[in-house]
């Protein structure tokens, strides 16, 4: 069981991610945007962060930069949930310090497979 933070401004997406991961026995917290995610991450040590790219207040790319600036989040896997049409966003995310990405649309099985891949 891992402590996972799911970040997405869309409640349905976030709900799907959280529900799927909880079903697999993980301890999932949710945040609506990058700023709330950074705030949450400061208060708890997450093993994995899954974040949407396009979000109000603070987008996913800025969130990765902020998290990587925290000593306790160096080396913690951060995956971007991105749409295939934005290949440049994947690279931008990587440059900001993201571990990898999961391309939308994904189904629960793909999500679990990817999470398993990162957490081992």
């Amino acid at each position: 069981m891992a402590k996972i933070l799911a970040v997405d401004d869309s409640a349905s997406m976030r709900g799907m991610v959280a529900f799927t991961l909880r079903g697999a026995g993980h301890d999932v917290s949710e945040a609506e945007n990058g700023q709330l995610a950074v705030d949450a991450a400061k208060g708890a040590r997450f093993d994995l962060v899954l974040a949407d790219v396009n979000m109000p207040v603070m987008d996913g790319i800025s969130m990765v930069k902020e998290l990587r600036a925290l000593p306790e989040y160096k080396g913690v896997p951060i995956l971007m949930l991105t749409t295939e049409s934005h290949t440049d966003k994947k690279m931008e995310g990587k440059a900001a310090g993201a571990t990898g990405w999961l391309v939308k649309p994904f189904d629960p099985e793909q999500l679990l497979a990817t999470v398993k891949r990162v957490l081992g």
Binding site: D9, S10, A11, S12, M13, G15, M16, F19, T20, G23, A24, D52, N54, M55, P56, R68, K74, G75, V76, P77, I78, T83, S85, M91, K94, A95, G97, A98, T99, G100, W101, K104, P105, F106, D107, P108, E109, L112, R117, V118, G120
Partner: protein
């Protein structure tokens, strides 16, 4: 693994998408004035979320449509394309089209239709794409080999990005038989070793029938964080395989959830509740539990000396219960903004159509209303706004002639007032046309030519069924659905509507609504030994009559003089067929009530007092009873019926007309 049903997220997706579409529309209308980057970003984000959700939750047609709108928005966002009225117009149509798709999704119909397809092609053409050409995927090919030699040298920083080389090696080992040899040449001495950096490299040999894509897939996240070479092993067999097979395998996933869409159509309507409201509820319940356990100590150990503590505890309990009640009601309360939001678009379209200039002011959009009230107040408001633009506000020429500014102002304001919600629709137009209304009423025989009418009485005439003064009925208003329907809708919600109008200065329609339908303030009355609740909002006055004030008319009806007219008396014990009540008018009381536009005096034995009543549906628990709108439970546990004032006055006027 058990499969997660995506259908359970459909309702959330629909709800948030409706909000997204509303936000898009509001922002697009604001863009009409000129381009603000943040607005464009917001519109893009909303479209992007809908696209992502539609693709994820099994609505490929919607995803395909939104994809084209998003491409156009992307160009606006990058500044590659300038915003103009034409683009705003196309995007507004796209919002409407998506609304249609959502409506069809909720009823389980196919999402795309001829008009959505036409608009999708129009959008695609705008961004310089022809869809037929884009549909055919480029065929690529891949190499497969019986063995690969891989050189993998992570950059020092790889660990900081969350990628562990060991994980990659393990993934490779799952593909085939892996031999790894570490390269230690970059490894510094112990003193200089930083454990957060990666110093190792590997020479790998992977044996087995593995495609190059599969090997590359393992390294997809770290391509820019390592030096990587992947070569076929010397002597290995290499052959080409087309990639099309891989793409085909993903296709059924998108088509499958059709049945799930239908499942979602049956889903119940839901309310989104702010976390702080739920937190406050949990807090209150916590307090309640504490108070209860404190009171519980009196069960075992009651001592008169502790009476004061008991009284304090009971007072606390009463306070918590009241606050809890308010908080629970609060869950059903939603801001009126969701209703107001539709008006900027509507006003824009209508005023353009009619050649009028209208400025719309929305005030108090955050005022909260019960969800049921909110759902039902939309139509009456739409009607009033249409009327205001069609009949109230004048054309720029006529406004100029009347010495006003070219642009008329339409104002919608919602506010809390004395425990009710007040919604005002005001315009600075021509005001009610008294002559036209009186003429029409004479023509329809609603009034006699000798009648002297107050302004109030004239205004009241427009609420008569089928009343319309518009000389030419436009397709906007005056389609037979008149102000009488507006008033009935408002009255059915337990509210009332008033008009103030001044010739040449405009009109104000004031709608007063109860905060909630679940609780009413009522006056408890006794009739034949039974309790009845009369909704306080409908009560005008309570009077005690003397015998000589009562007139009996032919047919057995009774009238009494009230203010400047005669009102019928309705004896509740006769209306409800429950004998045993007082007969002599002097011994009881007459409660003057107004419902559905007419007044009547309800004769009751006595009044007990004012109280709040939690409305229980009689229909759901028993059956519909004429003249009764529901039931409630009194403090002593007995049941009291709630009088349906509007229903009773309708019965009365029918009886009088017959």
């Amino acid at each position: 693994m058990s499969t997660v049903s995506l259908a359970q997220f459909h309702q959330t997706f629909f709800d948030e998408s409706h909000e997204g579409l509303d936000a898009m529309e509001t922002a697009l209308l604001a863009l009409d004035g000129g381009g603000d980057k943040e607005l464009v970003h917001g519109i893009f984000r909303a479209a992007h979320s809908i696209k992502g959700g539609a693709a994820t939750f099994g609505f490929p047609d919607m995803a395909a449509f939104t994809h084209e709108a998003e491409s156009l928005l992307d160009e606006l966002r990058d500044g590659r394309r300038a915003i103009n009225a034409g683009i705003v117009e196309v995007l507004l149509r796209s919002v409407d089209c998506l609304r249609g798709m959502f409506a069809r999704a909720q009823s389980g119909q196919p999402l795309a239709d001829a008009s959505s397809e036409a608009l999708r092609h129009e959008l695609a053409a705008m961004v310089g794409r022809t869809l037929a050409a884009a549909a055919a995927p480029a065929r690529r090919s891949d190499d497969a080999a019986t063995g690969w030699a891989i050189s993998f040298r992570p950059h020092k920083s790889m660990l900081a990005g969350g990628n562990d080389p060991l994980r990659l090696l393990r993934e490779l080992a799952e593909l085939g038989e892996l031999q790894a040899e570490a390269e230690l040449d970059k490894l510094p001495g112990l003193a200089a070793l930083d454990p957060s950096e990666c110093h190792l490299g590997w020479r790998l040999e992977l044996r087995g029938e593995v495609s190059r894509a599969a090997v590359q897939g393992v390294f997809d996240w770290v391509e820019d964080e390592c030096d990587l070479s992947i070569e076929a092993l010397p002597g290995a067999e290499v052959h080409h395989v087309p990639v099309a097979a891989v793409q085909a395998s993903t296709a059924p996933a998108a088509a499958a959830p059709k049945a799930a869409a239908r499942e979602a159509a049956a889903a119940e309507s839901s309310v989104r509740v702010a976390i702080d409201k739920i937190d406050s509820l949990i807090n209150l319940v916590g307090e309640l539990v504490i108070t209860q356990s404190m009171l519980d100590t009196f069960r075992e150990d009651f001592d008169a000396a502790r009476l004061e503590v008991l009284q304090q505890g009971l007072a606390q309990l009463a306070r918590h219960t009241r606050t809890l009640q308010e908080s629970v009601m609060g869950i059903r309360m939603l801001p009126i903004a969701s209703v107001f939001n539709r008006f900027p678009r509507m006003v824009r379209d209508l005023s353009q159509k009619l050649g009028k200039q209208v400025k719309l002011d929305l005030v108090g959009e955050q005022t909260e209303l019960d969800k049921t009230v909110l759902e039902k107040i939309g139509d009456p408001l739409v009607h009033l706004v249409r009327n205001a633009i069609d009949h109230g506000l004048e054309t720029p020429e006529r406004r100029r002639a009347a010495g006003k500014t070219d642009t008329g102002t339409l104002r919608l304001e919602a506010s809390h007032r004395n425990g009710s919600i007040v919604v005002e629709i005001s315009d600075d137009g021509a005001g009610l046309n008294r002559e036209a209304i009186v003429a029409k009423a004479l023509q329809r025989g609603l009034i006699a030519s000798t009648d002297v009418l107050t302004d109030e009485a004239v205004a009241d005439l427009i609420f008569q069924p089928g009343f319309s003064t518009a000389a030419v009925t436009t397709d906007l208003s005056g389609r037979g659905v008149g102000m009488d329907v507006v008033r009935r809708n408002v009255v059915d919600l337990g509210g009332s509507i008033q008009i103030r109008s001044a010739a040449g200065q405009g009109s104000v329609f004031t709608i007063t609504l109860p905060l909630t339908l679940a609780i009413i303030d009522g006056l408890t009355a006794m009739v034949g030994g039974e309790h009845y609740i009369v909704p306080l909002a409908s009560i005008i006055e309570t009077v005690q009559l003397r015998n000589e004030q009562l007139r009996t008319v032919t047919g057995g009806g009774e009238l009494f003089h009230f203010r400047d007219g005669w009102l019928p008396v309705l004896r509740l014990q006769d209306a409800f067929n429950c004998g045993g009540g007082r007969r002599a008018i002097e011994q009881g009381l007459v409660v003057v009530v107004e419902g559905d536009g007419s007044r009547v005096g309800l004769f009751v034995d006595e009044l007990i007092g004012q109280q709040q009543a939690v409305v229980k549906s009689l229909e759901a628990n028993y059956r519909r009873v004429a003249g009764i709108s529901g039931a409630t439970i009194l403090a002593d546990g007995s049941v009291a019926l709630i009088v349906d004032v509007a229903g009773l006055s309708r019965q009365m006027s029918r009886r009088r007309a017959a």
